[in-house]
Structures are given as structure tokens and as C-alpha cells.
């Protein structure tokens, strides 16, 4: 099954990437842009049923895929 891990910078953490994109959009004439945050999107093909995959991925997301100091993550499973 295909699982997705969405990793985003924590709200209170500075996000230079997001800031850059925001300013760039404004400079390009895109109006009405508010805050922009840039994170990561990981797609993982993985064997097992939804529960197993979820359990496994949470474990690895915590200790490896995301940096808990500055990032939050969420999992999504596709069927």
C-alpha cells in the first residue's frame, strides 16, 4: 500500500523557505498571499495492512523521517 508522510515546520519555528516563497510570489505580482510554509512530502510503498504500516511508519517518522525538534508530521494511508 502507499503511505504518505507529510512533514511541516512547527508553527513557532522560522521557515526561511516558506518566507522566500512568500516574498517571491508577492514580487511576481501574486496578490493576497499570506503565510507560506514549506515542508516535505514522502510517499512510501509498503507491505502490510493499514494498521501495521501505520504503526511502523509512526515509529520511523519519529526517529528518522521528521526532525521532532523543528517539525511536525502526519501520516496518510491510501488504499
Amino acid at each position: 500500500m502507499k503511505a504518505k508522510v507529510i512533514i511541516t515546520p512547527k508553527p513557532e519555528v522560522l521557515d526561511p523557505q516558506g518566507k522566500t516563497v512568500q516574498t517571491a510570489l508577492e514580487h511576481m505580482g501574486c496578490t493576497g498571499v499570506g503565510e507560506v510554509r514549506v515542508g516535505k512530502y514522502i510517499e512510501i510503498e509498503m507491505d502490510g495492512d493499514a494498521d501495521t504500516v501505520k504503526a511502523k511508519l509512526s515509529e520511523y517518522a519519529d526517529k528518522f523521517l521528521a526532525n521532532p525538534n523543528i517539525e511536525d508530521y502526519r501520516l496518510k494511508l491510501e488504499d
Binding site: E12, V13, L14, P16, K19, T23, N67, P68, N69, I70
Partner: protein, 773 residues
């Protein structure tokens, strides 16, 4: 006003302040401080900002020389004259605790912080170096920290566009969980471009420039001033500072451009203790007062309290005091670089630091008292117990090795000795097209050309500036310092100076980073005291004043304190480009000379005390390290420089960890023509004349004051004679053969090593461990 917590003894303790300190604060403010003021005092009086436990000791450092233009402690960094009305500014600073918590960002912001210290002085930063310590690499957590720190340094320096040209990395169990990340930066400027961090001129407006303030790094200075524990780390995790090197580059360019206009009365970066430190220190230096309104400070998070805004350590921010009437220039330049700025206050005449929020006063503190009258402690010191045991080691306790030649590959593959190419190939060490000696030799050498200096006022004609060649190195053998803080610290300075001299430079000055444990522990304080004594004596001996530095205490993990690590960064000037010398053998047929005594016979351990050999082969971190005779060292350095200046020296490499054998091997294997393409240059060595009953000591002993040089065959004899004349024992010990082996004869022993094998372990060990995942 927001509901501020009441001041209780617990709150005071949480702020790292003692009851006596609190009393002193009450005296200074003339009443009970409020919560915001308590926060202000707690960061300013933390060890990190006030040096309250070390200030007395640091007075022992030599700080003067005819070259000193700005001395230690005067400003954010010291400045030395390099001739032709040009100057350098350099400093080292630690970011140990933040890196323990978040290695990538911790190290990155460490680099950012030290770069700001340099351009605050009006100098353009032109190179960076770093000194790192980690636990042992078989631990995956250590590898994670190591990987994170190195990529953090790379990220910041590479993107900023500063070459990271040298450094050192050691691995030892004592640093497990408490890595050391010491970052050094050097900048260049003209004499008349020196900028000051003083709030001068009553009525002058105060500007804040750089990105908005967030809740990151809240009270980081205080965090750095306590033992690293699970709780303190957890607290800090919620406030990780994220670096933005691009922003910093803009900030630097804008500040240098602005300084050239003459509109600036004072400038200071916001580093540790952010807005608090920069406002009260500039006022204290200017003998003035300062008033700011926090509501005008750009803020990233909604609802920040005055306490948070004042204590935030958000990165890449500067405080600039502008001559009244010239505000437009600030605005024009900062707008050009698309940088946020805000006028946040003004210089006053009453000596007070007054902080308002939307017009309402939230803190009033006498600036000079806050900045300069932090308590001063003379801590108890006591010789550590462990020295009894470590000093007891006798040569007889060190069994001779069955196969002494086998130790060489082991030593070369010992991560502390192995090539650090896995580290420095991640750093852009060539940007600015000026690196004359890349990482991988004793010291880095950079060429500084006219375009490196900060801009001149637009209407001023370009001046004619000669190229300058600077060498730098950072060193510290923590194990030797652990085993003998005084001698080990002298040796640290000696090694830094020797590395410069080997590269053809005359040492000019030093900056030090004292990384130690908790100063309340008398044994640890004794280490610090002895170490400072050694550093001071050695800096005096080499004529290299200390121009600034940093103290990082409370470096411990649950198992105890780190090995005392007084890192020394030293900078030297290479008179002429022809003098630039690298460590690897050059041409077939060249003569190999040893300057200095092969073995110090009056050292009872023959150089094996605290040696790498003892650690690697015998698993012991013991013994009295070889003594460091400063007069002999100085004589050696002068003689070597003399030889280099006559043009006969084709390569020079000093002997450090792993002794003569490791140094010889490095001469033969360390030249790199291109990636994965070493140039191996074998040699034949005859050590038979060296009187030494212990082959292990002859090969791997770590006596100080030794350098291997090569000259052409024709000039060898004269070079030996000249060195002797200059008072340095010296001898021809071999010939560069260019073959693929290193062959050493010592007494009845004939040893031979295959260079490809040696190169492989030396070059690849760290990468192999790190790429294992």
C-alpha cells in the same frame, strides 16, 4: 500589561540566580525587579554573557602587542594590524549545548553567530574554521550528531559564501552527549573602517535590522550556562533557533555598505541574549543610556511578551545606532537589500536602559551596572583525584608491541587521526578564489585580495591594496590537557603556532575557546585555572596576544565532565607567497630532515604519556604527557621560518598525534590531486642514529617541538647546519623515493609499509563509518 508571574525564590532559582545575586539586583534597581527585569538580569549575568566565574582568570592572558588595534574584551572581536593600513578581526565561539539538542541548526547558527561578530567590527568575513568534538563513532547517536553538525556548518557557510578552510575533529567518549562545536571566523578591513559597538550621541535613533523576532532560542545564554540535562535540553527543544544564511549575507552586505556612508554611530549584533545584551552593552560602552519600544520591534509570532522579545535569540539581527538626520541612508540601503528594519528607540543621557512596550515602561535598569557589574566569583579549586592514578603510569607498564609496525595503520585509521575529508569536502573551502592551501595540510593559507575589503564610501577613489596571505589553524589535544592541564594547554598553543610556521606564516595572535565542565566543582575549576595559566604563558612566549575568545562551561554528560578542551585558534601572516609551504613530500630525491629531537630522553615516558598509541593499542588514557618546553619551541619556530624564508624548504609537517611515524606517513599520502586521486610519494627513512631503546616510543611517541621538512638533495647539508646554528637539533633522516612504500630503518629493525594500504585506512575510515547509516 500581561499577567507576569510573581517573583518568588523558586522563580529566581529557575533563572539561575542565587539569593545573593538577587539581593545585588535589588540594590542596583533600587526596588524589587519585575519579571521582565529578572529575565534581563538572568541572561546578562549568566556565565555565557558575564564570565562571572572566569573573568578573574582571563585577566592572566597577554593581550597586548604592537599589532593590537582592538584588544580582547573591548568589543565584539579583537583587531590586529597586518601592515599597509590593513587589519584582521577574528574570534572563536562555542555553540555546544544548542548543537547537542539540534545538531544541524545548532551548528549552523553557531557559524552565523560568529560571522556576525566579525562584520559587526566593520570587517568583511573571509574565512571560517571550526573545532569539533564528539563521542566515539561506534555509537549511532554520536554519528547522528556528527552528521548533523557537519551538514549544519556546511549549509550555513556554503550558502553565506565564506570558505571553511580548516578545522579539527576529535572523538572521545567524554564528549558523548555533549559535543563541542567551536566556530571561528576571520574578517578583513582597513584601519579606518573599524566599527564600534557603542551607543554614542544622545538623541541618535536606534535601528533594528534583520528578520522579525520570534520565540526561538529563548534564553539560550542561560541554557548554555547550566549543566546539560534532559530537562534543560527539553526546554531548549521547544525553542530551536533556525538559521537563515541568505538573510545573514544580505544583512552583512547592507551593514558594510551602510558603514561606508559614515551614518553609523554604533553597531552591534544580537547574539546571545539578543536585544537585551545588544542594548545594554552598547549603552554601557557609550557611557549613555538607551530607550527602546518593543512594540516597534518586528515580531514573527503574535502575542509575544516583553520578556520574550527581550530574551529571544532569533538569528541574523543587528542593532544600529545612526547619526541623527541620516536615517534615510539606513532606509535606502536596507530597502535595496530587501531587509526588514525598524527604528525602535534612541540614545539617552541618563545611563538607563529603558524598555517600553506601546509606550508603557516595562523595564528600567542602569545599563552599565547590568552589563559590567555582574558578580565576580573566585571558585575553589583542588587538584583532581584522577591525576594520582593517571600520573602513576610508568614506561614499564606499557608492554612493548609484538608487531610495532602494525600500529601505524591502526593509528591512521583511528578517527581522531584519520583524514577528515568526509567533513571538509562538504564545506565549500574555495569560494572567494583565495584558498592557497586547502584543508588537509597543517594550516590553511588564504590570499586576501583587494576586493575582499569592505566597500569604501562611493565618492572615495579605490585604493591600491596589496595581496595578503594569512594562515590559520585551530588546535587542542584534549587528552593531554586532561592529563596535565598546564602542560597540555601550553602544548595546544605550541601546536597551533607550529602548524602556522610549517605553512610559512609568522603567528600574530590567538583566540581561545575554553570548553570545560561545571566550575562549581573544584576539581574541574582547577583544570580551568591550570589550563588558563598554560595558555597564557605559551601565548606570551610566542608573542601572540589573545584577542578574544569564548568560555563554555557546564559541558558534561551524566558520566561526568568532558575532557578539558581549551581550543586555540591562531592566525599568522605569510610574508611572501613563495613562503607558503604544504606538508606533503614534493619531489623524488629530496632530502628528509628532522628538526627537533627524535626522542626526548628526559621524558620518563619517552613521549608515550597520553599518546594516541597508548589509547589505541593499550586502551589507556593515562600517563604524564610530554612536557612542552616553550623556549625550545620558539627557537624551532624561528629557525624553521628562517629556513622557509631562504627558500630551501619544499615541505614541512609537524609531529603531533601518532608521533614521527604518523607524521611521515601523512607526508607520503596526504597530497590529493583530485577526488579519489591521491598522489603517493614513498620515502626511505633511517632512524638508526636516534638513541632509543623503545621502538614504539621512537615511532609513535609524541614529544613536542618536532618538524619534518624536505629540501633538495643539494641543499640538505646546509639546511641541517643552519638549523643547528639557530639552536635546533636537526638531522637528515631520509630521502623521498617516490615509490609506493614507506621504509623505515631503526636499529636492527627494517619496517616497510605499503602506501596504498595506509592511504586507504587513513582516507576512508570516517566515510566508511558514516556511510554505514
Amino acid at each position: 500589561m500581561y499577567p507576569a508571574p510573581a517573583i518568588t525564590p523558586e522563580l529566581i532559582a529557575e533563572h539561575g540566580l542565587t539569593p545573593e545575586e538577587y539581593e545585588r539586583i535589588q540594590e542596583i534597581v533600587g526596588r524589587e525587579p519585575n519579571f521582565t527585569e529578572l529575565g534581563i538580569f538572568s541572561v546578562m549575568w549568566s556565565e555565557h554573557c558575564s564570565y562571572k566565574n572566569t573573568r578573574a582568570l582571563l585577566k592572566g592572558f597577554p593581550v597586548e602587542s604592537p599589532r593590537v588595534l582592538v584588544g580582547a574584551g573591548e568589543e565584539n572581536a579583537g583587531i590586529l594590524d597586518i601592515g599597509d593600513d590593513l587589519a584582521i578581526s577574528f574570534k572563536i565561539e562555542s555553540h555546544n549545548h544548542p548543537s547537542a539538542v539540534e545538531p544541524f541548526q545548532g551548528a549552523a547558527t553557531g557559524v552565523g553567530g560568529i560571522i556576525r561578530d566579525i562584520f559587526t567590527m566593520g570587517a568583511r568575513p573571509v574565512c571560517a574554521i571550526n573545532s569539533l568534538r564528539f563521542g566515539e563513532l561506534d555509537n549511532s547517536e554520536v554519528r547522528r550528531l556528527f552528521r548533523g553538525v557537519v551538514s549544519g556548518i556546511a549549509h550555513y557557510g556554503n550558502c553565506f559564501g565564506i570558505p571553511t578552510v580548516a578545522g579539527e575533529v576529535y572523538f572521545d567518549k567524554s564528549y558523548e552527549g555533549n559535543p563541542l562545536v567551536n566556530a571561528f571566523a576571520l574578517g578583513v578591513l582597513r584601519h579606518d573602517q573599524i566599527a564600534r559597538g557603542a551607543a554614542k550621541g544622545v538623541g541618535n535613533p536606534v535601528f533594528y535590522v534583520g528578520p522579525a523576532t520570534g520565540r526561538d532560542g529563548l534564553a539560550g545564554a542561560a541554557f548554555a550556562s547550566q549543566d546539560l540535562t534532559e530537562e534543560s535540553a527539553e526546554q531548549q527543544r521547544s525553542a530551536v533557533q533556525v538559521g537563515d544564511p541568505f538573510m545573514e549575507k544580505l544583512c552583512m552586505e547592507a551593514c558594510l555598505e551602510l558603514l561606508a556612508t559614515g551614518a553609523v554611530a554604533g553597531i552591534q549584533d544580537m547574539g546571545a541574549a539578543g536585544l537585551t545584551c545588544s542594548t545594554c552593552e552598547t549603552a554601557a560602552r557609550g557611557g549613555t543610556g538607551i530607550e527602546i519600544d518593543l512594540a516597534k520591534v518586528p515580531q514573527r509570532s503574535p502575542g509575544m511578551t516583553p520578556y520574550e522579545i527581550l530574551l529571544s535569540e532569533s538569528q541574523e539581527r543587528m542593532l544600529i545606532i545612526v547619526h541623527k538626520g541620516r536615517e534615510e541612508e539606513v532606509k535606502r540601503i536596507f530597502d535595496k537589500w530587501d531587509l526588514p528594519w525598524a527604528e525602535v528607540g534612541k540614545v539617552t543621557d541618563d545611563g538607563m536602559m529603558v524598555v517600553k512596550n506601546h509606550g508603557e515602561v516595562v523595564a528600567t535598569v542602569p545599563a552599565a551596572k547590568l552589563a559590567d557589574e555582574a558578580p565576580l566569583y573566585h571558585r575553589d579549586s583542588k587538584e583532581p583525584e584522577y591525576l594520582q592514578k593517571t600520573r602513576a603510569l610508568q614506561l614499564a607498564d606499557v608492554p612493548a608491541l609484538a608487531k610495532p609496525e602494525a600500529a601505524l595503520a591502526k593509528l591512521l585509521g583511528w578517527p581522531s587521526i584519520a583524514s577528515k575529508n568526509w567533513v571538509y569536502r562538504q564545506y565549500d573551502h574555495m569560494v572567494r578564489a583565495g584558498t592557497a592551501i586547502n584543508p588537509g595540510s597543517d594550516a590553511a593559507v588564504i590570499r586576501v585580495k583587494a576586493d575582499s575589503y569592505p566597500p569604501l564610501p562611493i565618492d572615495e577613489p579605490q585604493d591600491d591594496i596589496p595581496d595578503k596571505y594569512l594562515a590559520m589553524s585551530v588546535d587542542c589535544n584534549g587528552v593531554q590537557v586532561y592529563l596535565d592541564p598546564y602542560e597540555g594547554s601550553k602544548a595546544t598553543v605550541a601546536e597551533a603556532a607550529r602548524n602556522l610556521v610549517c605553512s610559512g606564516a609568522r603567528p600574530l595572535g590567538a583566540t581561545d575557546n575554553l570548553n570545560f565542565g561545571n566550575p562549581h566543582n573544584p576539581e574541574l575549576f582547577w583544570q580551568l585555572k591550570e589550563s588558563v595559566r598554560g595558555l597564557a604563558e605559551a601565548c606570551e612566549a610566542f608573542g601572540t596576544p589573545v584577542t578574544g575568545g569564548n568560555v563554555s562551561l557546564y559541558n558534561q554528560n551524566p558520566a561526568g565532565a568532558i575532557d578539558p578542551t581549551p581550543t586555540v585558534g591562531m592566525v599568522g601572516l605569510v610574508e611572501k607567497p613563495e613562503h607558503i609551504t604544504s606538508q606533503w613530500f614534493k619531489d623524488e630525491g629530496d632530502a628528509i630532515l628532522l628538526l627537533g629531537q627524535a626522542v626526548e630522553s628526559d621524558d620518563p615516558l619517552l613521549g608515550l604519556g597520553g599518546s594516541a598509541l597508548l589509547q589505541v593499542e593499550h586502551g589507556r588514557k593515562e600517563g604524564t604527557p610530554p612536557p612542552c618546553d616553550l623556549a625550545k619551541e620558539k627557537t624551532l619556530h624561528d629557525a624553521l621560518l628562517g629556513l622557509i624564508e631562504t627558500g630551501v624548504v619544499k615541505s614541512a609537517h609537524d609531529c603531533a598525534e601518532g608521533g614521527l611515524a604518523v607524521a611521515l606517513a601523512e607526508c607520503a599520502i596526504s597530497e590529493l590531486t583530485a577526488r579519489q586521486t591521491p598522489r603517493l610519494t614513498g620515502a626511505e627513512i633511517d632512524l638508526s642514529k636516534a638513541e632509543c631503546e623503545r621502538l614504539d616510543a621512537l615511532l609513535y611517541g609524541e614529544a613536542h617541538g618536532r618538524v619534518i621538512i624536505t629540501t633538495s638533495e643539494a641543499e640538505a647539508g646546509a639546511a641541517v647546519d643552519r638549523a643547528k646554528l639557530l639552536g635546533v637539533p636537526s638531522a637528515r633522516i631520509g630521502t623521498v623515493t617516490g615509490s609506493d612504500t614507506l621504509d623505515v630503518k631503526a636499529g636492527d629493525n627494517s619496517l616497510s609499509w605499503n602506501l596504498s594500504d595506509l592511504h586507504d585506512v587513513w582516507w576512508n575510515t570516517i566515510a566508511r563509518v558514516m556511510d554505514k547509516k
